[in-house]
Subunit: 291 residues, 2 copies
């Protein structure tokens, strides 16, 4: 699963942090730590790819791509805190609060969210994509990340602990907690290219499809991998007595569901005229990933 | 210290929350709890007042005003968490995490920050103030709330615990932690009215002046009030061995400093043609407040 924009994205991402020395340096170091500990940069890659597919430039997509990755990173820092999932490891490295302390990790998450909106609405972004696109991108990202989006999904997750949530609840949980931000990444790419409403809609369908497939595949891997393959402790959901797609449906039905969501994503790409081969292989690769 | 826009602001503020029942209702309830527990609504009042002073409408200012108040509210929820200041009371009521638990309080703060940017960049705000004003308001609010603004100030505060920070550090801390967001409130009012750069600059100077005066007055009240007058425990900064303006300069010099910052704010109002009487009395009332 290759990300052709990886270096470009990471360079832009790290360049968003304030340069020079500051009295609050520890906060900037904590933000940088988690930004640098990033994984495959799936979300920003999707933003750049959809922008390119709609005829926009990589440059115009980058501020939007960075913003989505920052929101994702903030959510991981806060999810790992002791009062949430209390995870000591993230992508095989000590989680933010293990390195910087809970107070700084809390602030680092807060400030990464703020920085996302700063980058998205900044003069540089506006010079490339226009005021209207930047404004709508802020609105879209906030809607998908907020109280009836990603944060709402995390709330449903907390409320579902030790309850064996039924499938309907788990689907809403995953759609909000995971798929929402992936959908935002796809839509923001279209917005950066000032694409029309039909393309925005198709990008949303693609994002929802691969987002759901991504999480169901995660549940499958949580049951079938080793710690080493996965880069994090396996079986943690089962230990926490949480419902997962696997516990509710079994592995085989989950695999079929991954395929079905992946096909939904692939069909949505028909709405675009350009070369969709990369986004097609990406959806397929996500469905077949091992970590 | 009368806020003529109080009811209008609170109606708009509570109206920003998603309506109807949601599976993540607890999160929405936690957000509403802290929004409703609000105090004097100083920041949104400033936004509306500066918009009116620049010839804009109250309606155009309201989304911007609500956004600033949401960022303020999110910061209070997170500041009160056990890993930060560990405060059980806020404005005489149990703090958010005492009512909803730490995990939900963390999320409520996160989601209030997100909602701030959603409201600021939404279609309603854009219809009233225009794409460019909304985009610039997002950028301004994010800059002042972020890692070298309000969140940076909170980091400096954490780093200064038990250190008897010198005056220079305390000034930067307060300028960032407290004055930044007040400055943002004033500037956003000008942006909502599409005011020129000279007015934006003057609003920033006013905001910085009353912001600094506000915090120094807080330090004075923390030493001279009773719990009852203040609505929160007095003397907590002294107990935590933190530097305050009073511990570094003494009460009399602090009073002079409050006057000097207040005068800076009053002079800045000369840049405006309209009726500045309300903002003048506000600056004076803040400097003389008892709680």
């Amino acid at each position: 699963m290759n990300n052709p924009y990886l270096d470009t994205i990471e360079q832009a991402l790290f360049g968003c942090l304030p340069q020079g020395k500051h009295r609050e340096q520890k906060l900037l170091d904590a933000m940088r730590y988690s930004l640098e500990a990033g994984g495959k940069r799936v979300r920003p890659m999707l933003t750049v790819a959809f922008c390119a597919l709609c005829g926009g430039s990589v440059e115009a997509a980058l501020p939007f791509a960075c913003a989505v990755e920052m929101v994702h990173t903030y959510s991981l820092i806060h999810d790992d805190l002791p009062c949430m999932d209390d995870d000591d490891l993230r992508r095989g490295k000590p989680s933010n609060h293990k390195v910087f302390g809970e107070d700084t990790a809390l602030l680092a998450g807060d400030a990464l969210q703020t920085l996302a909106f700063e980058v998205l609405s900044g003069d540089e972004a506006a010079a490339l994509a226009g005021d209207s696109a930047c404004r709508r991108a802020c609105s879209t990202l906030a809607k998908y990340a907020g109280c009836v989006g990603m944060a709402g999904g995390q709330m449903i997750d907390l409320l579902s602990e030790n309850t064996q949530a039924p499938l309907e609840v788990l689907q809403e949980l995953v759609s909000k907690k995971t798929a929402c931000l992936i959908r935002a990444a796809c839509e923001l790419g279209c917005l950066a290219a000032n694409a029309d409403a039909a393309k925005l809609k198709a990008a949303a369908v693609y994002g929802e499809g691969i987002g759901m497939a991504f999480q169901i595949q995660d549940d499958i891997l949580d049951c079938t991998s080793t710690d080493e393959e996965l880069g994090k402790p396996v079986g943690s959901d089962a230990e926490n007595q949480k419902s997962t797609f696997v516990s509710l449906l079994g592995i085989e039905k989950c695999r079929a569901l991954v395929d079905s969501y992946t096909n939904q994503a692939l069909s949505a790409l028909d709405a675009f005229d350009g070369d969709t081969s990369m986004l097609k292989s990406y959806a397929l690769a996500l469905a077949q990933r091992k970590n």
